[in-house]
């Protein structure tokens, strides 16, 4: 049974198998070592994610994943009173929902590596341009998300991770260390470009390497083809397979 790594999150997880996507890159690097399982739900906030927990991570499973990334907050941080209000979740509830998710995952498997990922920064100008491209002059005049408010959710996410002793990636901070992050990492002010996906990929790999899940140190599932004697192939498969 090959170990599983689950990617649980919103659209940024759901879209992680598009060109240059961080989910696809993880699948590639963990080839023949671990299966990457994507559970991304576009538009979802943590409040709605709670409804999925028992279905995606059913307690009592005999084969829980070895690691799970939890990547919500971009929708929770949508502002109340603006066009994406329906997705808004107050900061304290967001933190409490993250706690519930982590508690559930720990109950699911006490040894699972849990990685909380903060929402990425928001490029408000990019969001506005994107809205205009969709709706023209009818586009909202006031931003539906701001970078500052999303930053408070990112901090809240990191706080919860520290409080509960799990790993975290502060994507909001990390991305803003690079000049021009607004266009380099974000395609519409919120979702990720290939470069933005690259940042998530590198940060997730760092965390997994720092645990006991470094792809380069994990064994292949079956013999490397160079280890197979063409005149006696059985031999290479005896140890691992028979």
């Amino acid at each position: 049974m090959r170990p599983e790594i689950v990617l649980f999150g919103d659209s940024i997880t759901d879209q992680s198998f598009r060109h240059g996507g961080w989910g696809a890159s993880l699948t590639d690097i963990y080839s023949r070592k671990a299966d990457i399982v994507v559970r991304g739900y576009g538009g979802y906030n943590t409040r709605w994610a709670l409804f999925l927990l028992n279905h995606i991570f059913p307690l009592g499973s005999t084969t829980p994943p070895v690691a799970t990334t939890v990547f919500f907050g971009a929708n929770d941080a949508a502002l109340s009173g603006r066009t994406s209000e329906r997705q808004h979740v107050p900061l304290e509830e967001y933190k409490e929902n993250l706690r519930k998710i982590v508690h559930h995952l720990k109950e699911f498997s006490p040894t699972m590596i849990i990685v909380l990922i903060t929402p990425p920064p928001v490029d408000e100008e990019g969001r506005q341009e994107y809205a205009k491209s969709l709706y023209g002059e009818k586009a909202m005049k006031l931003p539906e998300r701001t970078n500052e408010v999303t930053g408070t959710y990112a901090n809240g996410c990191v706080e919860v991770a520290k409080e509960l002793g799990v790993d975290s990636i502060n994507l909001w901070s990390k991305m803003q260390e690079t000049q021009g992050w607004q266009k380099k990492f974000l395609s519409d002010g919120l979702h990720l470009t290939a470069d933005g996906n690259g940042v998530v990929y590198e940060e997730v790999v760092k965390v997994l390497n720092g645990a006991w899940l470094s792809a380069s140190e994990m064994p292949l599932d079956f013999p490397h083809h160079s280890q197979i004697d063409p005149h006696n192939p059985e031999k290479a498969f005896q140890q691992t397979c028979l």
Copy 2:
């Protein structure tokens, strides 16, 4: 339990999650509908693949995949007496091995959609350039694979598919319909470029659509976010989840 689609094959399957990869694109299109499980083994021929069958597709499993792509032949078709001789499998044995794989899969699940994919065409000049880039003047002078011989394996693959009543994709023929296929679809004369991956992706999607596995017609696992009433989220989840 989400349906699974297994990609079983050699390096062309193993590398299908790199940029533009056909495995990644399938994962994206089947998002929230089916899990794509990659079982690609670089350098493997069908003779060695047989050793894996009982492990990857253990008879008696209660949750067999709904579909499996079987994509071998590029290594079987390596020429005897040349530098990749160790991977060579005679044509008749290749066909017989494919039959064994199909029989096993049918025993595993009589309803599984089985898609045999032929090896892609070989760009002998591209192979030679690639060998020179690795080994300089020490590179082999005679090709280790030829397009003509690989074509006989492609025909053999299609014949087995017809004989056993399963689907097939003649990638060898399909790719050669496009002018400039040598560089457009192949990166080193054998493995696929992003465009080459695109061809495999399109052909696999066509076959799955023609069966009962069209992604656009499959239901989402959980409610689309627009269907969730923010004031009464329970309601949307009641039918699918509770």
